[in-house]
């Protein structure tokens, strides 16, 4: 069903239920466009994101993974995004250390009111991944689709 043969990245966006998922909904309500290859997975809080999920996404063929959560200080559960921030900082640093392109992963804080920011973030991230090309350094060859 692919539209053309150009590289179409697969991007997984983990969004916290309270801010970023609502922000994504708002960008939809406002009809703000972003690429269709961004797919959102709803999690209760950014602190629910296990590093395993990110690696799993890369294994299964994702080219970029982004985590969106409430702005620090605004977490529905008070402290969740603070833990997420440390976890992701260390994880990203480790991935970078292992030679994985640092642009493949990102964390962005998007509030429920920031529909425009959500769309802009996704557009920018998708463009970055598009420029970066397919994920080759952290993929499982068995899951390659071509």
């Amino acid at each position: 069903m692919s539209v053309n043969n150009e590289f179409q990245p697969t991007i997984v966006a983990f969004c916290c239920n309270w801010c970023s998922y609502a922000g994504a909904d708002l960008s939809g309500t406002n009809r703000l466009q972003y690429p269709a290859n961004v797919k959102i997975i709803r999690i209760p809080c950014s602190c629910r994101l296990n590093p395993m999920f990110i690696l799993r996404a890369f294994q299964r063929g994702a080219d970029g993974v982004i985590l969106c959560g409430c702005h620090p200080g605004d977490c529905h559960y008070t402290t969740g995004n603070y833990y997420a921030r440390r976890r992701m900082t260390l994880l990203f640093s480790m991935l970078d250390y292992l030679g994985i392109e640092r642009d493949r992963t990102r964390v962005e804080w998007v509030s429920a009111a920031e529909g425009a920011k959500f769309a802009a973030t996704m557009n920018d991230f998708a463009a970055t991944i598009h420029k970066l090309g397919p994920n080759r350094r952290l993929e499982d060859l068995r899951c390659r689709k071509d």
Binding site: V3, D25, R60
Partner: protein
């Protein structure tokens, strides 16, 4: 694997215009486990819901995927729909193909493809869903208010008004708190005692309110609806049931040299005392640090003069255990100690006072009987210098980084009162900024300047040197670009305020979170300002942040309303999407406990069957589902993967990832 039904909604043209709903239904129908797949114009309509219900019955569906608008919109609707058809409501998953698909994409082929993928993810997840049942936990219909200041009193009164029992625990011998020490209140200048003491009496007389004065919270166990609290009643050596509060003992006690804490040490009282005339409860208390009888065993004067026979030197601390459904924290504030600010000569001269001491010096019930006299020589001060922001807005270790909020207004009040009572005094106020947002606040400050002629100087005092009975004040006048040298008679320091020292250990007991300044954190800074993130713990007054009296009272009533809302329920329905440990996998390492914002995780030593018919004792985590809010922080902290989150389990999320990346 479930028997899954897929229901694709057109949402009129909202979805159908950009997503080929027929095709989505057809493709998803081919997915493993899908036994029924259809599409309909409005799935959320009555007939749409009936369609789902019929399909559940006809095809014996065990899982339902609705491809429609955001779950934030209709997840609950569809859950109820399915529940009515006999399906567990948590066997429903929503694929958001409107807000996150049809509305953001224009290319129909692309949008259709994406809708299919989102549907697949929902199907993959629903295969791993398990029926969940929301548990309930009973609510003990009694509230505890910790702290008996104006905040605690107001909260207690409001709760009692709604018909619930409420206890106040106050660490001092009387309730009333800081407001009892204040002379007049801004911006109306009515007398604090006149408005506070009736409330204190109301509290004492209210049948629903029980006051534990001279008491402290010793331990807190349990969770929302079911707290078990141990209260320590400190020994006051006076039988509360017998003491009539006549005050004879406080006149006869031979130990006269006790610094009077109520007047901040500006005068002295006896070893047995009632803090002030309107104290509630009006019961004498023996100060064990000074009482000759308690220290040496010789004296006993108070016992001899007490006609009620209330004195009991043998009294010891008593512990009371009570159950509560909700706890309100109203521990209040204190001015900071000014030892670190020696440039203002606070420790060198008795004529350099804090604003709270100044309140006592102005108060008719204070050490000077309401006449403003210098503590050093009892003369009228002619020149008074007020210094703002002493210890507030500091970036160093000496002070506090925040603005104490109330100082600008009370300093304006003090300055105004001085000028009003003693028009011959010169009053200077040194300020960095004057912050007076609030109803009639700025007008009040302007009156101090315009009507009362208070000299407001933009600048700061650099040093104060006591010299020949005067206070040499060196200050800057930034607008005049000059340095001022004032010979003052009195200097009043607006000390920063900080949370009461008892708050930190209390927060630990309550597992309520605090910020770095020891103010309690609210559940949400905007939307849930009177609740702690820990369920069942509410915040009233300055324990949450600096506040003036109107704000405190407003928040106190708000907290009361929240408590009433909780106590009005017979039982609490718990969120079923809670964390749960696999005990066989749990290491007992406490990682999860450390990140739980609600204190929902505890540990027990539990016996397990080991290999070869042995038993093993292991420390394992327990989650209290009544307290857990389901954030999932613990699931990631857990290295063994023992902790998982119902409804958002590791496997469910990974199944979604797999489906999306497929």
């Amino acid at each position: 694997m479930q028997r899954v039904g897929v229901f694709v909604c057109w949402c009129g043209s909202n979805i159908a215009a950009t997503v080929d709903v027929e095709k989505v239904a057809e493709v998803l129908g081919q997915e493993p486990g899908v036994v029924f797949s259809t599409h309909y114009q409005y799935m959320c309509s009555q007939s749409g819901q009936e369609l789902i219900q019929n399909a559940i019955r006809e095809h014996s569906l065990t899982g339902v995927v609705v491809c429609s608008c955001s779950p934030r919109m209709h997840e609950n609707t569809f859950r109820k729909t399915c529940e009515k058809a006999g399906l567990n409501p948590y066997m429903v998953e929503i694929a958001n193909i409107r807000e996150q698909c049809s509305w953001i994409h224009k290319n129909k082929e692309e949008a259709t493809q994406k809708a299919v993928i989102l549907g697949r993810a929902a199907i993959a997840k629903v295969h791993l869903n398990a029926p969940l049942t929301a548990g309930t936990s009973p609510v003990k219909k009694r509230a505890l208010v910790i702290g008996g200041g104006i905040a605690g009193i107001q909260t207690a009164l409001d709760i009692a008004d709604a018909g619930f029992e409420v206890d106040i625990v106050e660490k001092e011998p009387t309730i009333g708190g800081k407001m009892t020490q204040i002379d007049k209140t801004f911006p109306t200048l009515d007398c604090a005692a006149c408005i506070l003491t009736p409330k204190m009496v109301d509290a004492a007389q209210n049948e629903k309110i029980k006051i534990y004065s001279y008491s402290e919270v010793q331990s807190v166990k349990g969770f929302v609806g079911n707290f078990r609290v141990t209260i320590k009643k400190k020994a006051r050596y006076v039988d509360e049931t017998k003491c009539t509060g006549c005050g004879l003992c406080t006149e006869k006690c031979p130990q006269k040299k006790v610094p009077n804490a109520f007047n901040l040490g500006l005068d002295q009282r006896r070893a047995i005392y009632i803090p002030f005339a309107q104290a509630v409860p009006k019961i004498a208390t023996i100060d064990a640090d000074y009482c000759t009888m308690l220290k040496t065993g010789k004296c006993g004067v108070c016992s001899k003069v007490c006609t009620a026979g209330a004195i009991d030197y043998k009294q010891t601390d008593r512990f009371i255990e009570e159950e509560y459904g909700a706890i309100v924290v109203a521990t209040g504030f204190n001015p900071i100690k000014l030892d670190q600010y020696d440039e203002f000569a606070y420790s060198q001269s008795p004529d350099v006072v804090t604003s709270l001491e100044f309140e006592r010096l102005m108060n008719a019930a204070g050490p000077t009987g309401g006449t403003l006299l210098r503590p050093s020589d009892g003369t009228h001060p002619k020149t008074i210098v007020f210094v703002q922001c002493v210890g507030s807005r500091c970036d160093d270790s000496k002070g506090k980084s925040y603005c104490s909020k109330i100082c600008c207004m009370y300093t304006a009040k003090h300055a105004m009162l001085c000028r009003e009572k003693y028009p011959d005094t010169d009053v200077y106020v040194f300020y960095i900024d004057v912050r007076t947002p609030g109803k009639n606040f700025d007008e009040f400050y302007r009156r101090a300047v315009e009507e009362y002629g208070v000299h407001y100087v933009k600048g700061m005092v650099g040093k104060v040197v006591p010299e020949n009975g005067k206070l040499k004040v060196q200050a800057s006048d930034l607008l005049g670009n000059r340095q001022l040298h004032i010979d003052a008679d009195m200097v009043v320091l607006a000390a920063a305020i900080e949370p009461d020292k008892s708050a930190r250990p209390l927060a630990t007991m309550l597992t309520a979170s605090m910020d770095t300044n020891d103010f309690f954190t609210e559940a949400h800074p905007k939307l849930r300002p009177v609740e702690s993130p820990t369920a069942g713990i509410f915040l009233s007054g300055a324990c949450q942040g600096p506040k003036d009296i109107p704000e405190t009272v407003a928040q106190a009533s708000a907290a009361a309303a929240k408590v009433i809302g909780l106590l009005a329920k017979d039982s609490l329905i718990c969120n079923p999407c809670t964390a749960a440990p696999d005990e066989l996998m749990c290491n007992g390492c406490s990682s999860c406990e450390k990140v739980c914002p609600y204190g929902a995780i505890t540990y027990i030593d539990k016996e397990f069957r080991g290999p070869n018919r042995t038993t093993l004792v292991r420390r394992v985590a327990q989650v209290n589902p009544a307290v857990c809010q389901g954030c999932g922080a613990c699931t990631v902290a857990c290295p063994s993967g023992a902790m998982d989150l119902k409804g958002f389990s590791n496997k469910q999320i990974m199944a979604e990832v797999d489906a999306i990346c497929r």
